[in-house]
Symmetry: C2
Subunit: 425 residues, 2 copies
């Protein structure tokens, strides 16, 4: 990887070239708009036509039967089921701690004010077909929804001539997905947003997908809620000179292998570590199955920045706001207060990033492309809405009536003032 | 207003004609994209050019001086300041109850898992000029940000030949806004998203605006966070036959006066109340200053639905998911559990909607157009991001290593498995 040097301001300028948002493609936008309009007008028949056209599969019944799901589960190795069960336990115990409660406040005489938290009624999870079908992501998306109390969690995934990936069906079963539908692409997103004869309308659509899926999610946003539109994966590692170069390199490659546009980043106060990691990268890349992808990521997107001290390393990472941040230093928890912008943080030399991808319990659906400045990991709160409420006695309203009518008339809203005064006529 | 009758399914079909999202206007999209590009390239100079062109004001210094803010505050009546102070007290005490905490979980040997909550560093509030400048909205947007711990709350508002509305300056001062800049339109949104010489880049942009402002917010979304894009105001009232028709009508008009597209809705089990409210509407409209706007809203957007019983009334309102919901019945709190979809709820015959607009304390920036199905009122959580963290001992990682490598290899991600195994070589 290229090594960046210089003082802090020079480094900041080099690393902080924020990517432009991927420009939307007009031809994709138009094609997706057509698909959505067709699904709204023609429902299941449109879905059947698109499945034939895009997936090459004639679908008679979109709902995947319980027998098919059970058979997929049964065909998985015990090793895989045990791994999914461990993930489920840890994801559940972590996300249960995220649950918020509403409140009632009765501190003022004659006044009740409160907030109740209500789960979304139904959510839909998009799962890509082929090699990008990740059972771990099903666990990460469905379990927080379950904990939030969502009663209807449905999953859509493209129909496949050879049938749906058994590991995907097993994860859906273990995560408590209520129904699986074999439909993919923009048409699946449209079906979830508006409903068809066989697919229920949901309140929120989650999950990764290709450009048609992402564009469809953007187009239906507002009609339903959506999760974030995720960009390429990123890992930022802060490592001191005591860190193991082979481990640092392996962790960088774990994200580089996702995507040619993935961004592996190392910030260190040790030139020796920087050089040793580069040697290790070359060595490890040579035997990596996804060598081509990872090499492009390392060469074109990655960098190593050598800073004067660890405080500068944290300041630099806060500018980048990486999706994943490893802190390979002594006493890492003492730096937690310096971390302002990151999705998920891995403290110490043992907490390798893939631990968080699979079993530790924190979510792996995370903000990318610097958006950790303001977005959060997927969590229970994404599946809950807050409803405010108040109740006043006439006496309590009387005490505040003058303030209300004054503000209403200042804003030129006479009808607002009269509504309050109607209680005292 | 038109009166809808029929059985529940017939009523549901009539009221649940969901509005289409306002289509974006290609010429506005293009103009806004140009403005954003120009502000990114030319900073303050672009802002000055646009202020001259669109606002007819030559601005030398965008930052409004403390002396100007103080003078605006001093020119407000004591009555207005007292009303703003009451609003501030109640908004603060309500939103303080929304504050969440992070957690640390040390339940497993050798494992620390946690979540820390971090306020956004900087947020920007857009305040329209002219008659749409609402001091109450400044309080509703800035105070939750303050409570969340946001260190830099900035406000932008169009320059005005006669100077900025003193009530707006007073509200900014009382709400703890850190800086006010006189710049408006799409150029102000671009400045907040990217920063200029005099205006700082922020992490989230909030507040209402015309179509140029709304389009600019959509275009910069992803670069920064934004609050919701609000649609026309809505009020849904559930009222039984004991309710006062004059009060019900006045509350309907308080929202109708906002906008010709505002949607006043009454659902009642009493035909007599329906008729009486219609008479009152005619009577009250005749003397309302904003009669023309309110009449259009009442005639074209509003309706009264007569249902068989109150249970049906709540079911119908859940389909509509109104921004504001009044519950004018006996023992209103006994119906709280039936309310699934609403932004802000007003229980009982005394809690007139404008009470919530100004002083009760719950937020008045609320989801519209049916989005209360999945969106929440603006609150403290909108100004906080969650950062996950974990730390493992080698022994703890050893216990989970097999599950991680199994899942990684199931997903075809060999590099993930090797990163874990590098800890045990």
């Amino acid at each position: 990887m290229k090594i960046l040097t210089g003082n802090f301001d020079q480094l900041a300028t080099q690393v902080n070239q924020r990517e432009e948002q991927a420009a939307s493609k007009p031809e994709v936008e138009a094609a997706v708009a057509d698909i959505i309009a067709n699904v709204r007008a023609n429902g299941d028949q449109a879905l059947k036509d698109y499945s034939q056209k895009f997936d090459g599969v004639q679908v008679d019944d979109f709902k995947v039967s319980q027998a098919t799901i059970d058979a997929g589960y049964a065909s998985c190795s015990k090793e895989l089921i045990d791994a999914l069960l461990l993930a489920k336990r840890n994801i559940t115990s972590y996300h249960e701690k995220e649950v918020s409660r509403g409140f009632i406040d009765s501190e003022q005489p004659g006044v009740i004010r409160g907030q109740k938290l209500t789960p979304l009624a139904a959510v839909g999870l998009y799962v890509p077909g082929g090699t990008a079908a990740y059972p771990s992501t099903i666990m990460m998306a469905a379990l927080p929804a379950k904990i939030a109390g969502v009663k209807n969690i449905v999953m859509v995934t493209p129909p496949q001539p050879a049938g749906i990936n058994p590991a995907v069906l097993a994860a859906a079963k273990l995560a408590g997905v209520d129904a699986v539908y074999q439909v993919g692409g923009a048409q699946a997103v449209a079906a979830l947003a508006f409903g068809t004869e066989s697919i229920p309308r949901v309140d929120k659509i989650m999950g990764p997908g290709n450009i048609f899926v992402a564009t469809a999610k953007k187009q239906v946003f507002g009609q339903v809620a959506i999760d974030m539109i995720a960009g390429p994966s990123e890992i930022g590692i802060i490592a001191d000179g005591q860190s193991n170069p082979a481990q640092v390199a392996a962790d960088l490659l774990s994200q580089a292998e996702h995507d040619k546009l993935a961004r592996p980043m190392l910030v260190t106060d040790s030139q020796a570590l920087a050089d040793a990691v580069n040697l290790e990268l070359t060595k490890q890349l040579a035997t990596l199955p996804r060598e081509e992808i990872a090499t492009a990521s390392v060469n074109d997107e990655g960098f190593i920045a050598v800073v004067e001290n660890l405080d500068d390393a944290f300041k630099l990472m806060n500018l980048i706001a990486p999706e994943h941040l490893e802190v390979q230093v002594d006493e890492p928890i003492s730096y937690l207060n310096q971390i302002q912008n990151a999705g998920s943080v891995f403290l110490g030399r043992t907490a390798s990033e893939p631990l968080g991808d699979y079993v530790a319990g924190p979510n792996h659906i995370l903000p990318t492309a610097g958006t950790a400045r303001f977005f959060s990991p997927l969590g229970v709160e994404d599946f809950v809405k807050r409803i405010q409420f108040i109740q006043y006695t006439p006496q309590a309203l009387g005490k505040e009536a003058k303030a209300i009518t004054t503000l209403a008339r200042t804003e030129g809203l006479e009808g607002h003032a009269r509504a309050i005064e109607s209680r005292f006529n």
